[in-house]
């Protein structure tokens, strides 16, 4: 019974704890700080952009400008130094910051093109806008802070999973396991309208055995989980916060 590994069996399957971007963003080391802020911006710019579109009814162009200006100010004025994870989640903190920022900003204010030398994250606003338009018809957001929190939460998860899927594609590609990713994409991501294919159908489609489908999918799902949780860990400050966020992300909160 080789699966009944001894208690305390193989260790080190999980990667060592990645640095917390939220903590590192307050570092005195400019390089570390810049890298950390880059990670935070990557995780949050798209949810913020969509939030501005839906909560503040900003046009596409205005939402782009405000997103950029807000992120620039977040970095320049070091908003994150006021963040206390014991009091609120990072998403809620950022939403409140965005609300204050928009409320305090006159539309005619300087549309600064700041931060270019500080931040090196390409913001694909066209892609974000396409996603927003795609999803808007299905959105029924009530005008309350709670529902906007939920919206931001949903978009944060969507963005995090999107980034994790992209990472998984690169990970599989680099290891010559693109087939694994394609199976995962076909089985878990495909929304082409037809019903979800069976493992047997996938085996036929990819010209492999059903057991290979099972194994390849298990591999891809395992790596996806690992990558998504690694990215999530960057956005948390402590092990307890990470566990709480991870359980919410995976939908396994206590019943």
């Amino acid at each position: 019974m080789k699966e009944d590994t001894r208690i305390g069996g193989p260790s080190g399957k999980f990667p060592a704890t990645r640095w917390s971007a939220v903590v590192a963003a307050r570092s005195d080391d400019p390089l570390e700080r810049s890298r950390a802020l880059g990670a935070i911006v990557e995780a949050y710019w798209k949810p913020i952009y969509k939030y501005l579109r839906i909560r503040w009814n900003k046009s596409n162009e205005d939402a782009k400008d405000v997103t950029q200006e807000f992120l620039a100010e977040l970095i320049e004025k070091d908003y994150l130094s006021d963040f206390d994870p014991a009091k609120a989640r990072l998403r809620t903190f950022l939403r409140v910051c965005v609300d204050h920022f928009v409320a305090n900003q006159t539309k005619a204010a300087n549309r600064l093109k700041r931060g270019g030398d500080v931040l090196h994250v390409a913001l694909d606003f066209e892609g974000a806008e396409a996603e927003f338009v795609c999803a808007r018809s299905a959105l029924t957001v009530a005008a309350s802070a709670e529902s906007f929190d939920e919206y931001l939460e949903r978009e944060f998860v969507r963005n995090l999973f999107t980034l994790a899927v992209a990472d998984l594609r690169a990970f599989c590609g680099a290891r010559g396991k693109l087939h694994h990713f394609q199976l995962f994409e076909r089985y878990d991501l495909d929304d082409s309208g037809t019903s979800r294919p069976s493992y047997a159908e996938l085996a036929q489609e990819f010209g492999i055995a059903v057991t290979d489908v099972t194994n390849h999918l298990a591999f891809a799902r395992r790596e996806f989980r690992r990558i998504a949780l690694e990215r999530l860990r960057e956005m948390t400050c402590s092990a307890a916060e990470f566990r709480r966020e991870a359980r919410a992300l995976l939908g396994v909160e206590s019943a």
């Binding site: 069996g9 999980f14 999107t162 991870a246």
Partner: protein, 337 residues
């Protein structure tokens, strides 16, 4: 793949949460419960063709604390072979790094839900006796449960009563282990099931000041975080709270609770540990005395109460004697007329 629909996200959540059982002999069926530490899944043991429950940590645990706690729980369960404790079938680490253990799948109901339905007072008391027996057994093996409550008791369809969730159990130092009646103390210390002899399994220790347990069922000394001085009497307090849950009308919606039972629950839940029952067996024996119509340790009766209890216990005999006397008196009266 730039756009992930809500449906795709839901599938990814499921894919990310499901344990990677590929490569094991278990086949996932469904998640049946989630707790503070992890989730319990129903699975099929493909080798033996039976259903099992698998408890798994939900998320990576960088500190290793939760993994150690789950492993320790598996060790404790494996060491406590008793009809009131769920048997462990296997344990290990999955391919995705999550620690797990597989145990018997108990088809039944939690005590809090079970007791909402029917069940007579004597029936509930007999279940309580079984819980006391199980806890007393664990105490003789040097294990405190520390989170006894109705939600952690399972009742099966064939009368099984199982004490579950030993995740925050404490292993007592050998000198603190209670001795079952008739067994010398050194014999208990050397019993193969006595966990306190193996110091490697006591880790991770709960830090002094840490509060583990459930408010309402937790002894005052446990709520204070006085971890080092906790002993069996903390569990006896929790048993008293469970008894109260089972018999007190406000909680149960039953008829008036007999004073003797209230006294038993109060004695078990005394704020002073020294004033509680000395052992879970003693508490269970007091319940047995109540069920047999005998005086209980916790409730000194006055003469009227003693007569009332005596009358209740021998009700049938008293009715027969009285009937005989009445009939005889009538016959005497009839023949003398």
């Amino acid at each position: 793949m730039n756009w992930l629909s809500d449906e795709a996200i839901a599938r990814l959540r499921t894919a990310g949460a499901e344990p990677a059982l590929a490569g094991t002999r278990y086949r996932l069926i469904e998640r049946i419960a989630s707790g503070g530490m992890g989730s319990v899944y129903l699975a099929e043991d493909a080798t033996l063709g039976r259903r099992v429950a698998i408890k798994i940590l939900d998320v990576p645990d960088s500190s290793g604390e939760l993994a150690a706690r789950l492993q320790r729980e598996a060790h404790i369960l494996a060491s406590l072979e008793h009809p009131g404790i769920v048997p462990v079938h296997g344990a290990g680490t999955l391919a995705d790094g999550r620690v797990f253990y597989a145990m018997k799948f108990v088809e039944g109901e939690r005590l809090d839900r079970f007791s909402e339905r029917a069940s007579t007072l004597p029936g509930r008391l007999r279940i309580f006796q079984r819980i006391c027996d199980t806890v007393a057994f664990a105490h003789t093996r040097g294990v405190l449960h520390r989170d006894l409550k109705p939600e952690n008791i399972m009742t099966g369809p064939f009368g099984e009563v199982l004490v579950m969730d030993w995740g925050v159990a404490k292993i007592l130092p050998a000198k603190q282990i209670s001795t079952p009646a008739g067994m010398p103390h050194d014999q208990v210390r050397n019993h193969p099931g006595t966990l306190a002899m193996d110091s490697s399994r006591t880790a991770p220790k709960t830090a002094h000041g840490a509060v583990l347990g459930t408010p309402g069922y937790m002894a005052p000394e446990q709520a204070r975080g006085d971890v080092e001085h906790l002993d069996e009497r903390a569990d006896i307090y929790s048993l008293g709270a469970i008894l109260q849950f089972l018999v007190v009308p406000s909680a149960r919606g039953t008829q008036t609770t007999p004073r003797a039972l209230i006294a038993i629950a109060r004695k078990a839940m005394d704020a002073n540990p020294a004033a509680r029952y000395a052992s879970a067996s003693e508490l269970g024996q007091d319940i047995a005395r109540y069920l047999d119509g005998l005086p209980v340790l916790a409730y000194p009766e006055n003469v009227f109460q003693r007569i009332a209890r005596w009358a209740a216990r021998y009700r049938m005999a008293i009715v027969l004697v009285l009937t005989y006397l009445v009939v005889r008196a009538l016959l005497i009266f009839w023949f003398r007329r």
